[in-house]
């Protein structure tokens, strides 16, 4: 059963620290798994056929499938009692992210090879900076949930409208999404620090990974539009 607390008590500080370390180790593991899958896909020559297959169907279908995996993965990782189920959810989510990134990474690689590294560096620096803001100020950013949910809904409407009505989303949209992803990182990090139950480090790592991946996607998109 879900229990709530605003801040760990003195006696629970050690448990909380262990939880935080485990969460970030799992996040690191998820990122490394993501990179390994991408390297595997590109090295095996699967990237091009996979990208062609994904770009051959409506982007709404790809997005819809990805949303289903995200929703199921987050739910299972956050609520399942079994650790196996939680890890399976995290694994499925990382795999889904790795697949949806293939067309974008392929285009970026063909456009200018260094752009992926630059976007990754900016994403890592942004993530570390935002994490530091939460850990140094210890501010509770859980109040951002409402804004993130409504803005997320607006973003979905905008993407659906773009696909159905046939218009491209531009630089301002990417900047908006970078701001959105930054706010999501503040929200997730603050939940890691203050609110996640201590046995939910897999779910917490999944939430953080989703926000980092979102930030990377739109930073890369911005870099590609610049180049």
């Amino acid at each position: 059963m879900q229990e709530y607390s605003y801040a760990p008590s003195q006696t629970a500080v050690a448990d909380r620290s262990t939880f935080i370390v485990k969460t970030y180790l799992h996040l690191l593991g998820a990122i490394m798994a993501f990179v390994a899958i991408e390297v595997g896909i590109f090295a095996s020559g699967l990237a091009l056929p996979l990208a062609q297959a994904m770009m051959g169907v409506s982007w709404l279908l790809v997005l819809g499938a990805f949303m289903m995996v995200s929703w199921l993965g987050s739910r299972v990782a956050a609520t399942a009692e079994s650790k196996v189920a939680q890890y399976a959810a995290l694994g499925a989510y990382v795999l889904a992210e790795a697949i949806i990134f293939v067309p974008m990474l392929l285009i970026a690689d063909m456009q200018a090879g260094g752009v992926i590294t630059s976007a990754a560096l900016v994403t890592i620096m942004g993530f570390l900076g935002l994490t530091a803001v939460v850990f140094v100020t210890r501010k509770d950013f859980s109040f951002l949930r409402g804004v993130l949910l409504w803005a997320g809904f607006g973003v979905l409407l905008l993407i659906v409208a773009g696909v159905l009505f046939g218009f491209e989303l531009g630089t301002f949209f990417s900047v908006g999404m970078v701001v959105f992803a930054g706010a999501a990182i503040l929200y997730d990090t603050s939940n890691v620090l203050h609110h996640y139950p201590e046995d939910r480090y897999v779910g917490a790592a999944l939430a953080l990974f989703a926000s980092v991946a979102l930030l990377f996607w739109y930073v890369l998109r911005l870099f590609m539009s610049r180049d």
Partner: protein
């Protein structure tokens, strides 16, 4: 981001302004993206947002119309979330309009239990059905085929945006899920065939229960008693309506009479889990109102048995939280009240949770959180007896109830 591990608590002024600033920044950037470079078809995004409110009205009216067609009553229709702007009546339906027209609900009630399962499914289907019908009518008005092309014609983009808003509304409501503990339309359609007669007996009592709770909430005890009596006279066999009489007796301080009436009802009421849970919950509420230490001791067991029989509804959790507070078990009280507060959008139940969370956070020494809940309690201006209790508790610890 989809999972929410944080407690629900009222926003501080700083958080409110930060949230507003971030919303404006994001909205501004998205609008800037629409305008630069401008194409007529990019107007689909603002138009989708604009048509969301009319789509919501079509959806709720669809439910109401379906309910009327199958002979059910519609006592309330709520359009939107957030602060109430205004309310009006259409026949017996009270329509409440709130600030943000993003979601809503209707309260349909059967008059008799006949064919209730099929009628329930039809009422659930009425909302998304109405949206799909209007969207289809818009497409037909353009001759169907020409409607599904990408174009820069302003009238066509407007109609396509309206149809898309209606379709998204219908589809998202048809994908089965629960929201704040309540089934959405898709889930309701799926569950309706399996609902038993006790569920509809309960539904039949909902409007009167609601009216009695509202009267008790504002302290109008005569109105509460009159409403309970009138409803019971119309359906003397309904155990949920008989329980309203018990609720009124306990609220007026007639604890012995309430206990006696409850005991009598236990003898005659049908044996089903829903009624059993409500009887146990009523016993817990009598104890809570009476503040009798002996009754309070047993009340916690009663409400836990109610949760066991009827499921962990927000109402039962809220009562459990209040009883735990009365017993000084503050951490457990906080957890139970948070589950209730996060699991409801019912303003009366929210008031109850806010009031007790103000008391609990004060007892736990969480001054920042206490001031949030106390401020929210003052803003809501309800639960005078709990506000008094909070003031007394603050005086005892030398704190400031604000």
């Amino acid at each position: 981001m989809l999972h929410d591990p944080a407690p629900r608590r009222p926003l501080s002024p700083g958080e409110r302004w930060t949230g507003l600033g971030l919303s404006l920044l994001l909205f501004g950037l998205f609008v800037a993206d629409v305008l630069s470079p401008f194409e007529p078809r990019k107007l689909a995004f603002p138009l989708l947002l604009l048509f969301w409110a009319p789509a919501l009205v079509v959806h709720e009216c669809g439910h109401a119309l379906a309910a009327k067609l199958v002979g059910w009553r519609v006592t309330q229709m709520v359009l939107g979330v957030g602060p109430e702007l205004f309310r009006f009546r259409v026949g017996e339906t009270r329509v409440v309009v709130r600030a943000l027209l993003a979601e809503g609900y209707v309260v349909p009630t059967p008059r008799v239990a006949g064919l209730a399962r099929a009628k329930s499914a039809l009422v659930y289907a009425g909302g998304p059905g109405a949206e799909l019908l209007v969207a289809g009518a818009l497409a037909l008005a353009w001759g169907w085929g020409p409607f599904f092309v990408q174009s820069d014609s302003y009238p066509l983009i407007a109609c396509q945006s309206a149809a898309l808003a209606l379709t998204i509304g219908a589809v998202t409501n048809l994908v089965p899920h629960t929201l704040a503990g309540a089934a959405n339309d898709g889930m309701g359609i799926l569950l309706s065939p399996g609902l038993g007669l006790p569920h509809f007996t309960y539904l039949l009592a909902v409007p009167a229960s609601r009216a009695v709770e509202e009267a008790l909430h504002v302290g109008d005890l005569p109105l509460a008693a009159e409403t309970a009596d009138r409803a019971l006279a119309a359906h003397p066999d309904n155990p949920h309506l008989a329980l309203l009489r018990v609720r009124v007796l306990s609220a007026t301080g007639e604890t012995d009479a309430a206990v006696e009436a409850l005991e009598a009802l236990r003898e005659t009421a049908p044996r089903d889990p829903l009624v059993e849970a409500e009887l146990l919950h009523a016993a817990a509420l009598i104890a809570l109102y009476s503040q009798d230490p002996e009754l309070l001791g047993r009340a916690l067991q009663a409400v836990q048995a109610a949760i066991h029989a009827g499921g962990a509804s927000a109402r039962f959790e809220a009562t459990r939280g209040a009883l735990l507070y009365e017993q000084g078990r503050m951490d457990e009280a906080f957890a139970a009240l948070q589950r209730a507060y996060k699991g409801t959008r019912d303003p009366i139940l929210e008031d109850h949770c806010v009031a007790y969370l103000a008391l609990v956070t004060q007892a736990l020494g969480r001054s920042e959180d206490h001031s949030r809940f106390a401020r929210e309690l003052s803003r809501r201006g309800t639960h005078a007896h709990l506000q008094r209790k909070l003031a007394e508790a603050s005086a005892n610890v030398g704190g400031d109830p604000r």
